[in-house]
């Protein structure tokens, strides 16, 4: 089964090279989507010289949701059987790709979500509360229970990647994907992953509030 890792990136020139190098050892191909970066992220990727890395660039910044959607379309176009999404800021361990794709290979799931909350982890209280709040809102709006709705580390079977229709451009994409999983009746599983440097990375409290408001407005308009 062809595994393609999709890495959306915005101004991550410091970390993208390391993430791509590690991911290339666990995936057959890498798709990097540069979402209008201006810090040389594109050059960091091109400078790697790794053969199976495909780079696509947005001319202007459109958000992680838009970059995710572009990456999934690119991966499907390259013949992916499994599409793995991971973050470009080093929050996720690319070495976990085999574990996160395992249930899909075995035919046990269509979507696998890497959850930071399934094992004991040193996650700041603010992030825990924020995540739980968004989990609750997602459960109320979309009817699917998940311990880490905002996790950017996910794997999709080809069928699931083709079925999911991403319309959200920015951070709300994680919750939208949960909604799509429920709507398309996809089989979903969670596997534990490590949260690396989470206090410095990821969404802020203001991002969380914005996501919550956007979720509610999108659900009812």
């Amino acid at each position: 089964m062809k595994v393609i890792a999709v890495i959306p990136a915005y101004n991550e020139s410091k970390t993208i090279a390391e993430v791509v190098k590690k991911a290339s050892k666990s995936a057959d191909s890498i798709v990097v989507v540069d979402d209008g970066s201006f810090d040389g992220t594109k050059d960091s990727v091109l400078g790697l010289g790794i053969r199976n890395v495909h780079l696509y660039c947005h001319s202007i910044n459109r958000g992680v949701g838009a970059a995710t959607s572009t990456g999934i379309k690119a991966a499907l176009g390259l013949g992916a059987d499994i599409v793995v999404m991971l973050d470009s800021d080093g929050q996720h361990r690319p070495e976990d790709i085999p574990r996160i794709t395992g249930p899909i290979r075995k035919g046990e799931a269509d979507v696998v979500i890497g959850s930071r909350f399934l094992r004991k982890a040193d996650i700041p209280m603010v992030k825990r509360i924020g995540n739980k709040s968004l989990n609750l809102i997602t459960k109320i709006l979309y009817g699917l229970r998940c311990t880490d709705t905002q996790s950017g580390y996910k794997a999709f079977s080809r069928h699931a990647a083709s079925a999911i229709d991403i319309k959200v451009d920015r951070y709300g994409v994680c919750s939208e994907i949960i909604g799509e999983i429920k709507k398309r009746k996809l089989r979903v599983m969670e596997v534990p992953i490590d949260a690396i440097n989470i206090e410095k990375k990821g969404t802020t409290v203001m991002d969380g509030i914005e996501i919550a408001i956007d979720l509610v407005l999108r659900r009812f308009t």
């Binding site: 594109k42 780079l55 660039c57 958000g63 451009d169």
Partner: protein, 109 residues
């Protein structure tokens, strides 16, 4: 005061006619419909203040002006939601164009 009300009424009737004409040409438009509702409410306050006051009092408004403010508030809320939806559509179209251009040309060294 009667003269002022008369002139005000004429202006509002003229404005109403313009809005209805605009609606006929452009089809259903939330903004025009909202303006029509506000215009009719203002006309009603001017033309039939007495009967209007009695009807409005019976449904909970102390004065016609209170009803007018409530209508304005509801129309503003509706327009805000409508603007949000329109803006989202525009943002979506921009994203589609950017994605199409990106997927067409993979960046190679």
């Amino acid at each position: 005061m009667v003269v002022l009300e008369f002139l005000g009424g004429l202006v509002l009737i003229g404005f109403l006619a313009m809005l209805i004409n605009s609606l006929r040409k452009r089809g259903t438009d939330a903004y025009i419909i909202s303006l029509i509702i506000i215009d009719i409410a203002l006309l009603a306050i001017i033309i039939v203040p007495g009967s209007l006051e009695a009807s409005l009092t019976s449904i909970g408004f102390a004065r016609p002006f209170d009803a007018f403010i409530s209508i304005i508030a509801a129309a503003s809320f509706f327009l805000a939601i409508r603007s949000y939806i329109r803006l989202r559509e525009v943002e979506r179209n921009i994203t589609k164009a950017v994605q199409k251009a990106a997927l067409k040309s993979e960046v190679k060294k």
